[in-house]
């Protein structure tokens, strides 16, 4: 059945999903409640946790050092449950801009940023980001000066990456919560910079 309540035949893939799920439940391998709980947990995960981590790092230089040294432990320090996440945080500076891609599939720090956007998983992003990051970033509206080094990270194995963007100018004295509101998902992937103080 469709979600809208009007009858629509299932696609082959929807039929497959229902069938696999019912078989797994009948066999006692998973329960409907477990599936529903996981769906809800993932639905609630936006990128706020990532933004919190960034804001803390902007405010607290010692925390930032710990975050760059061991991303996973630094998240746990803030009470964020990040099971199985091996997080590596890479820092943007005036000399270096970082960007993340998974050319082989769609590896992404889901525990911090939620589900990845469709474009991150797309053929065109995955094909071009490692090869021509400057052109891709320009397409996203981000122009990086030639004398700034671009560091592209291809998450091919067990690590997951998050960019620590530079703190926007004009935010001196801001609270952590207010700073977190400047952090966008795309700035933590590296295809954008955070919002400015007046955005």
């Amino acid at each position: 059945m469709s979600e809208t309540g009007t009858y629509r035949p299932l696609t082959y893939f929807q039929l497959m999903e229902v069938s696999l799920r019912e078989l797994l439940v009948e066999k006692g391998i998973v329960t409907e409640d477990e599936i529903a709980a996981e769906v809800e947990a993932m639905r609630k995960r936006g990128y706020e946790r990532g933004a919190r981590v960034v804001a803390r790092a902007w405010i607290d230089p010692e925390y930032k050092k710990r975050l760059l040294a061991n991303g996973t432990r630094a998240c746990e320090e803030l009470g964020l449950e990040v099971p199985a996440l091996r997080l590596l945080v890479v820092e943007n500076t005036p000399e270096v801009h970082n960007a993340i891609v998974c050319t082989l599939c769609s590896c992404y720090p889901r525990m911090l940023l939620g589900l990845p956007p469709e474009w991150y998983k797309s053929r065109n992003y995955r094909s071009r980001m490692a090869r021509e990051p400057r052109a891709v970033l320009a397409e996203f509206g981000l122009h990086i000066a030639e004398n700034v080094t671009i560091r592209v990270h291809d998450s091919t194995a067990d690590m997951r990456y998050m960019v620590l963007p530079m703190r926007p100018a004009g935010t001196e004295g801001w609270s952590e919560e207010r700073l977190a509101s400047r952090v966008t998902r795309d700035s933590m992937i590296g295809v954008a910079v955070p919002k400015g103080p007046n955005d």
């Binding site: 091996r86 050319t103 082989l104 490692a130 090869r131 990051p133 400057r134 030639e146 080094t149 671009i150 560091r151 592209v152 990270h153 291809d154 998450s155 091919t156 194995a157 067990d158 690590m159």
Partner: protein
């Protein structure tokens, strides 16, 4: 972890091999030379996990930094880098 073969800062080359199975070393990086940026630790081998085996003992995993101009023939910027996680058995000394 068994003693890693390579150290941070060491130059390594990715095997120019094109085997079958589930491989996490991208096609574009095979045969390229870079520098070990860090040892990430040891993790069960994904090539084996994909075949329903346990992937143990876990091979060391490295982050290797490549100059983009050493990966793509006509890459313009001299300083841009590309960093890729590569398992030990895909690397050799240069």
């Amino acid at each position: 972890m068994a003693e890693p073969l390579f150290r941070p800062g060491e130059r390594v080359r990715v095997l120019k091999a094109y085997p079958l199975g589930h491989v996490r070393t991208p096609f574009y990086i095979r045969g390229c030379t870079g520098v070990v940026e860090r040892i990430c630790g040891a993790f069960p081998n994904p090539e084996e996990l994909a075949q329903m085996r346990d992937g143990l003992p876990p091979p060391p995993l490295y982050r290797v930094r490549f100059l983009q101009k050493d990966v793509w023939p006509d890459y313009a910027n001299a300083n841009d880098v590309l960093e890729v996680e590569i398992y030990q058995h895909w690397l050799e000394k240069t």
